[in-house]
């Protein structure tokens, strides 16, 4: 049986479901992550990302379906799973009343690294996450970003073959974010399998080999970043108007240049559309001019999670939060 394990995906979930009372927070979730690859689980707050991670890391039992991590069932072989995973949860789960160093040494001890190795590993990680200067201070005195970095360091103490990071860059400044991305790329190049959740399309794009978009507890789209971006559209043209009665004219002018029908927002006096390859800002301005549309502002920006949701579900992420 072990012979076949190497051919199986490192993380696989089939029909995962979790409910609280009558409310399903997760339903019919299937996931497959091949060894040494990165899956980005992309979705807004409350979509079910954390619930998925908690099930896959044995913290939570699913009400439906099953999952295997590193070849073992998360429900029935949970101790074996825990011996093969690292986790950085969404809330920074570090001990406030210990120093940063003591936190990492404790985790190393619990991974049975041995005292000396645990200490060496703690030093190494403190250095890598720019925490050496604060190593012996109580975590209580750390800033939010420092806690987050320590939490991530804690998940890497044992260089586990499978790593789960729940919104790892939330609360990090851009520099720390870039540094973390470098660390993660290095780990994956070394054979680590990574599942990370994020609210940022850009982050999933930069790091993930495959992306699963999750919405209201269900996977609504999956594919490589390129496939998903092709569906969602890479760049958006945003036209801001001076008055509401020009919305229709602007949408009409943009339609021939857009990959999908333009979306009008009367509140913001904006028309947004994913542009096709080769469309330039100049072309957009010219088209608007020909349609006699007086725009207050015309710009291009890259697609956001909101754009992705708009395209994939037909509704924006904000509607989702209100519905939940």
């Amino acid at each position: 049986m072990t012979v076949h394990r190497t051919n199986l995906p490192t993380i696989s979930a089939a029909g995962l479901g979790k409910r609280y009372g009558d409310r399903w927070v997760l339903r019919d979730v299937d996931l497959d992550v091949a060894a040494g690859t990165v899956l980005g689980l992309l979705g807004p707050n409350g979509a079910g990302k954390t619930t998925t991670v908690r099930i896959l890391t044995t913290l939570l039992r699913p009400d439906e379906g099953s999952a295997r991590v590193a070849g073992y069932d998360v429900a029935t072989e949970d101790a074996r799973v825990r011996a093969r995973i690292g986790l950085a949860g969404q809330a920074a789960t570090v001990d406030e009343l210990l120093s940063g160093r003591a936190n990492l040494e404790l985790v190393g001890t619990l991974y049975k690294l041995g005292r000396r190795a645990a200490r060496a590993r703690a030093d190494e990680l403190l250095e890598r996450f720019s925490l050496s200067d604060a190593a012996d201070r109580l975590v209580r005195t750390y800033s939010g970003g420092m806690r987050r970095r320590l939490d991530l360091a804690a998940s890497l103490v044992a260089t586990a073959p499978v790593l789960f990071l729940d919104e790892p860059t939330t609360g990090l400044d851009p520099r720390s974010r870039g540094e973390l991305w470098d660390v993660l790329r290095e780990l994956v190049a070394g054979g680590t399998t990574l599942l990370l959740t994020t609210q940022y399309l850009e982050e999933a794009d930069r790091l993930a080999d495959r992306i699963a978009v999750i919405d209201a507890g269900r996977v609504i789209a999956r594919g490589t970043p390129a496939e998903l971006k092709a569906r969602v559209g890479g760049e958006r043209v945003v036209v801001t108007l001076r008055s509401e009665d020009q919305l229709a004219a602007a949408a009409g002018a943009l339609a021939p240049l857009a990959a999908e029908p333009p979306h009008s927002d009367p509140g913001a006096l904006e028309v947004t559309a994913p542009v096709t390859n080769g469309t330039t800002l100049l072309g957009v301005v010219r088209a608007l001019d020909e349609a006699d549309v007086a725009a207050a502002d015309v710009g291009l920006r890259s697609a956001t999670l909101d754009d992705a949701f708009l395209t994939l579900t037909g509704h924006a992420t904000d509607d989702l939060k209100e519905a939940a």
Partner: protein, 278 residues
């Protein structure tokens, strides 16, 4: 890549060694908290010292016990009361751990799940004993003595240790049930406080009105207090017609400690699984 600390691939002896190591690592962690935040020990150090002074010098003059000095009588009561109040510190500590997510970190690691509770029990028992040492020194200063020989004194301290351990587990169960520090405090005030006062802790039971006297004499706290006094050779203040538990205080006290453990440990373990798997 290799697996880390997979408990299913090693011998039973190694697994046991790992579990003990996990428990000690968490014990050390909890004791480090006390070192960094010594205020945590105020409940079990300053407060009992205040009671010693209050009862020895303010109320003591008005309370009489048969067969000896009130200062000697007092200490057994305050030692037991202190340990009963200590359930609050344990409950608060555990409720805090669950609330701020540290338990999630532990639960995702390849460690013995029992270590979180066992480490808490061991650490809190040890820190409560440190507090007791302070109390004993204060007792010696106000005139308390162990009057019954070394063997009996050792038995006395062993009983105190057993009671401290049992109370820690009661505190763990409380922390898992209430989940907030305020509620733990409320429970101690409403339940533990009367329990330690409607007893032979500070007064001898014949001085109590009928009805209350029976409650006090059957109160488990009274049995433990009477047993501690008995083993330390302090005046017992026991009337000739004391209720059965007080006549057999030592075995009854041990029995109560074992009952508390037999109830608290399995309930706490079960509650821990439920409370943390949300």
């Amino acid at each position: 890549m290799t697996a880390l600390a997979d408990p299913t691939t090693v011998s039973l002896a190694t697994r046991f060694r790992w579990a003990v190591g996990d428990c000690l690592a968490l014990t050390r962690r909890n004791l480090t908290h006390v070192r960094h935040v010594p205020e945590k020990l105020i409940d079990v150090t300053l407060q009992p010292l205040m009671f010693v002074l209050l009862f020895a010098y303010v109320f003591g003059g008005a309370i009489h016990v048969s067969g000896g000095s009130y200062h000697e009588y007092l200490m057994g009561g305050i030692v037991v009361q202190t340990l009963a109040f200590a359930v609050m510190g344990t409950a608060v500590g555990l409720a805090d751990d669950i609330r701020n997510g540290v338990i999630d970190r532990f639960r995702s690691l390849p460690m013995a799940r029992s270590a979180v509770l066992a480490g808490r029990a061991l650490a809190d028992t040890l820190s409560n004993l440190i507090a007791l040492a302070v109390l004993v020194i204060a007792g010696l200063i106000v005139g308390w003595r162990i009057d019954d020989g070394a063997g009996s004194a050792i038995a006395g301290f062993a009983l105190v240790l057993l009671f401290a351990y049992a109370m820690t587990w009661a505190g763990i169960l409380l922390g898992l049930l209430v989940r907030t520090p305020d509620a733990a405090q409320g429970f101690v005030f409403v339940v533990i406080f009367p329990l330690t006062f409607v007893a032979n802790t500070f007064v001898s039971t014949p001085d109590l009105p009928s009805g209350l006297r029976q409650v006090a004499e059957w109160n488990p706290i009274s049995a433990v207090v009477a047993a501690v006094r008995d083993l330390f050779g302090n005046p017992s203040g026991l009337p000739a017609d004391a209720a059965w538990p007080l006549q057999h205080a030592v075995p009854v006290a041990i029995g109560w400690c074992l009952v508390i453990l037999a109830v608290s440990v399995p309930l706490a373990v079960r509650r821990y699984r439920v409370a943390t798997a949300r």
